[in-house]
């Protein structure tokens, strides 16, 4: 089993090295690729200092394009499975390893790390405290995505995922540039792939700041709902039969 862990990073010079070290510790057998989404800081230089491969996009194109770069690399280089996590230190690599185990055991094609799936664990640990606007967005997306996919999702915007080759070939060709997280879940379910959520522990971000101001959040939510609606009418690609 060859595994690729890729880390999309946009201006994350402060936290990237720690994330890479964490991945190295908990996922010793995996190759690491940092996808620098046109950062204006020293993200690429930091990644190279860590000795990992870096794919630097020449200009910022959004999370979707960065993630797609990772999936494309994993597909072309023949990895059996891949996983990605945020570069800001919110996602412990030990949890990513659990997601990957699910994919390796072929329990699912795509596994999402959910910080909300296990309410008791969430209440117990004070590790992760979502902001108010994020909570609203989360419940709106949760509602519409569950409606669209008829499958229960709790953490629709989670950037911690593990996937097999089916998902790689689907996502490397069809990935929304502006609505990576939510639309990709809808797409995977529509294409008949097995998508599973696994409860994970997440941390407060170590560096950088969230891009969500209240106004942006509102627009983000609105756009997300429209994207989901349109996504329901997309023609199917029959990814479930491709391997």
């Amino acid at each position: 089993m060859r595994t690729l862990v890729f880390i999309p990073a946009w201006n994350e010079e402060a936290s990237l090295a720690a994330v890479v070290a964490d991945v190295r510790t908990h996922l010793a057998g995996a190759d690491i690729l940092v996808v620098d989404d046109g950062s204006t800081d020293a993200t690429t230089a930091r990644a190279r200092e860590c000795g990992v491969l870096v794919a630097t996009l020449p200009f910022n194109q959004g999370l979707g394009a960065a993630l797609q770069t990772g999936y494309l690399h994993a597909l072309r280089e023949g990895y059996d499975c891949c996983a990605h996590l945020d570069a800001d230190g919110q996602h412990p690599a030990a949890e990513v390893a659990r997601l990957l185990a699910e994919v390796e055991a072929d329990h699912a094609d795509l596994v999402i790390g959910s910080r909300y799936r296990d309410p008791e664990a969430a209440a117990e640990s004070d590790d992760y405290r979502p902001t108010f606007s994020r909570r609203i967005g989360t419940s709106v997306f949760r509602f519409f995505l569950t409606l669209a996919t008829r499958q229960r999702f709790t953490d629709t915007t989670s950037g911690m995922r593990a996937a097999n080759r089916r998902v790689m070939s689907l996502f490397s060709e069809n990935y929304s540039p502006d609505f990576a997280e939510i639309e990709s879940l809808q797409l995977a379910v529509r294409e008949g792939l097995r998508v599973e959520e696994v409860p994970v522990r997440m941390l407060e971000r170590a560096g950088g700041s969230s891009f969500l101001t209240p106004l942006r959040s509102a627009f983000f939510i609105f756009k997300g709902v429209v994207v989901l609606l349109v996504g329901q009418f997309r023609p199917r690609q029959h990814a479930e039969v491709k391997r």
Binding site: L33, G51, L53, V54, Q68, L72, E77, G78, P177
Partner: protein
């Protein structure tokens, strides 16, 4: 056009000869401008067809006002000028949409181009790191072997 029930009942407003002359002159200049843009490689032929058709339509409307009046009657509009405005507006709307489609396609192409370039650089980096390519070829196995 009295067989059309709504438009025929009241007085109609037609294009004046002055309007027609101005329109014809503008149409001719417009088409000359498009030809000039193509000639100087500022406009690709495939994007010029639609504009040329628009210019020809304008010329036809000026030369044969009967055409426009027919269209106005079909639309149920008494004033030929209003019909003209509506048609032009619709045409522009269609063109704008057409450009959005082209833009989306090009945005996707640009994204893929950037991704290819980024991955190519990563592969170069991997090749450099593994020296002559005998050790540490972690990410360099050819795709064919695996698929």
């Amino acid at each position: 056009m009295s067989w059309l029930p709504f438009a025929a009942a009241t007085t109609k407003v037609h294009l004046t000869s002055q309007t027609r002359i101005v329109a014809a002159v503008i149409a001719v200049f417009f088409m000359l401008m498009i030809l000039e843009l193509i000639r100087r490689d500022r406009l690709q032929e495939r994007y010029s067809v639609i504009w040329f058709v628009a210019g020809l339509g304008m010329l036809a409307g000026a030369a044969f006002p009967g055409l426009l009046e027919l269209v106005a009657d079909l639309m149920g509009v008494r004033n030929t000028n209003v019909a003209l405005f509506s048609i032009v507006l619709l045409l522009l709307l269609g063109l704008a949409l057409n450009f959005s489609v082209i833009m989306s396609r090009q945005a996707a192409q640009i994204t893929r181009l950037a991704q290819e370039r980024a991955l190519e650089k990563a592969r170069e980096q991997a090749a450099e790191r593994s020296g002559n390519g005998t050790s540490g070829k972690q990410a360099l196995e050819p795709e064919e072997k695996r698929l």
